[in-house]
Symmetry: C2
Subunit: 393 residues, 2 copies
């Protein structure tokens, strides 16, 4: 039989977190590209832009002024996708169960926040110092704790960043968002459930850390196996960077060309709130190491969506909540199996102007990727740790 050649043989890989398959067709990169090219992702912006509503002291929608902040700054989104007083649309007319089951809806309440990462309009995470990124990790953590304490009806907080106009970002000032929700959204729910199912169906592996409840952890086992492969000097390592507590890698099941996951490998860390000071510092420096390598890959500002997966928010007892006891127990139960991890989904594929489109086959059938995760990891791993703009001649 023919030996496997990653530059010509298609295969599928399974994502054990989202429970979906990904088609990997490595030879596809050989095809010529005549489609859309993006504007060059090079930016030279001023450190302060008087027209930017995220720059310190400037006016926002509705006449409010952004504080003259240093470091980070959090405010409620002026155009929040979720508000506290959500109301359910009227139920569809009663046509019997067979029809009603097709019209399921539920209320969605929430609070949405914008998080400015820096007063400097011209920076991105890739160009910020590790200490400045640590400020971002700290403000995420504070928000995760404070918001869920203040609004006990919240069940989940989705922290994310859209970087670059290619990824729908409407303002280049370095910032992210946090949408806090009265429910656990579809994808985090599946990912939490997968981690729970894994803990109950697998046996512990010797020398690999366990969940706080003594059960095996999907992501601790995964990190351990990737680290072992990397440390053995395997050419096909998917590891990009190894910190003291966190590891950055291109997952075996990556969808996006240079998709990256940052996850702890030393112990069970269910959420940002569980980070020790040293772990928070290490998470920040690992996020910096990843972002700089991404910018260096094509020497451009490398767009992505970045998101934090973690435990549903900590909440008081079920009785205090406007959710039923079963839902509250389920959320607490999921929290016991959750492992904090950060995902980067960048669209660029071949250069600073040619991205991968997840359209057509990908939307209707299943995700398809053009280079192998191993090829992507090698390219990111080989990138310089110093940002290209900051390199000495």
């Amino acid at each position: 039989s023919v030996p496997f050649d990653p530059s010509s043989h298609s295969h599928r890989r399974f994502n054990p977190l989202t429970q979906e398959w990904v088609l990997c067709s490595p030879h596809r990169t050989k095809r010529p590209w005549q489609g859309a090219v993006e504007p060059p992702q090079l930016d030279s912006r001023p450190a302060y832009d008087e027209k930017c509503y995220l720059c310190p002291g400037n006016e926002r929608a509705g006449g409010i002024r952004t504080e003259k902040y240093e470091g980070t700054f959090v405010f409620e989104n002026d155009f929040a996708a979720l508000v506290e007083t959500s109301v359910l649309p009227p139920p569809p007319s009663a046509l019997g169960d067979a029809v009603n089951s097709l019209y399921q809806q539920e209320p969605a309440r929430g609070k949405c926040y914008v998080i400015c990462f820096s007063p400097r309009h011209d920076l991105t995470v890739a160009e910020m110092s590790d200490a400045e990124i640590e400020g971002v990790v700290k403000v995420w953590t504070k928000l995760y704790v404070d918001v869920s304490t203040e609004y006990p009806w919240l069940k989940y907080i989705q922290i994310f960043e859209n970087k670059g106009s290619m990824m729908g970002c409407s303002n280049p000032h370095p910032h992210g968002q946090a949408w806090s929700l009265s429910y656990i959204p579809s994808r985090p729910a599946t990912i939490l459930q997968s981690q729970r199912d894994y803990a109950h169906s697998q046996n512990p592996i010797p020398n690999v850390p366990l969940l706080a409840n003594g059960k095996p952890s999907l992501l601790l086992n995964y990190a351990a196996s990737e680290l072992a492969k990397h440390q053995s000097g395997d050419e096909d390592s998917r590891v990009i960077f190894v910190g003291k507590h966190f590891i950055a890698l291109v997952p075996f099941w990556a969808s996006w060309p240079f998709e990256t996951m940052v996850l702890p490998f030393q112990r069970h860390i269910p959420s940002l709130a569980a980070l020790t000071e040293e772990e928070a510092i290490d998470l920040a420096s690992t996020l910096g190491a990843v972002s700089r390598r991404m910018d260096n890959l094509f020497e451009c500002s490398f767009g992505y969506s970045m998101g934090v997966y973690q435990a549903p928010v900590h909440r008081p007892s079920a009785a205090e909540l406007d959710v039923n006891a079963t839902a509250a127990e389920e959320a607490d139960d999921w929290a016991a199996y959750a492992q904090l991890h950060v995902g980067f989904y960048p669209p660029l594929l071949r250069s600073s102007t040619v991205k991968k489109f997840l359209v057509g086959f990908e939307l209707f059938a299943e995700t398809q990727r053009d280079i192998t995760p191993e090829q992507a990891a090698k390219r990111l791993r080989d990138c310089d740790d110093v940002h290209y703009k900051q390199r000495k001649e």
Copy 2:
């Protein structure tokens, strides 16, 4: 309590086919847009372009010449994502079940085809006559039947079209693709399973047509309930167009701003191969009616990904196949519950240059939409049936 206001109250809706929730935040359209704008989607192209490899008689990659075709033309993709001789990558080193379960992979074999819709370089489906679109439906059908007969190891054929550079289309010549596969991909598998589960868990509704096996059909019930609401004159109708056999509507659970589904409402039609002559004609004219309204909405060439969902390919007995008997029975079983339907996923939201980005929250948490499906349906329904370029002054 506050009455529901679709222009200000967030809620979630459930997609019973993909089994995922969608967050609907109608008031979000009020926010100002300062993000990326697309180049104007206006095209004036020549009827023949000597540099286009899809125009009749021109040279393609590898020196092959595209035939001097009239009507439609099918050829094997010169850069196919799947080939017949797929080989599996080596298994990850044996580390025990707990680790091996994280590295699931399988071979992916297939045949990929390109389908030219017209010799005219300057047309799109929206500007083709109903008779010309009927030619496209016919060539899809022939391909679905012929390919699965010639390659009995195939299990599924995904037919789709990416229209417009915004949707990753690399050549504006009107064309689509068919990726035929040795397996049923993740999303069609879920959609087939949902239809099967529905048939087994619901009771028939009086006066609504049933599946060939006498069980209730998710999509026939859905079409019937949308049609009834529409015919009652309800302002919130999600119907765009009603043909003789097919109906076009914005599904209750739509993800994309102007997502549209075209589906039969008179009887169970598992696949293109089951269409009568009259049904094929009606499907073509319904697809035309939808495409023209989409182009008319913002008076531009309205980009989208379009895809056909249907039964897995008809195959001979399990013994003749290189799949095991259980897999073959499963596919046959699914086919009994499948209902043919066509989806349109267009990204434009506000104008010909501002699209909806499904990024950040959407990628990490769950899909979010800005206008209600009812608002989207009304706007498309109210569009003229005559293409704006073909209107008399």
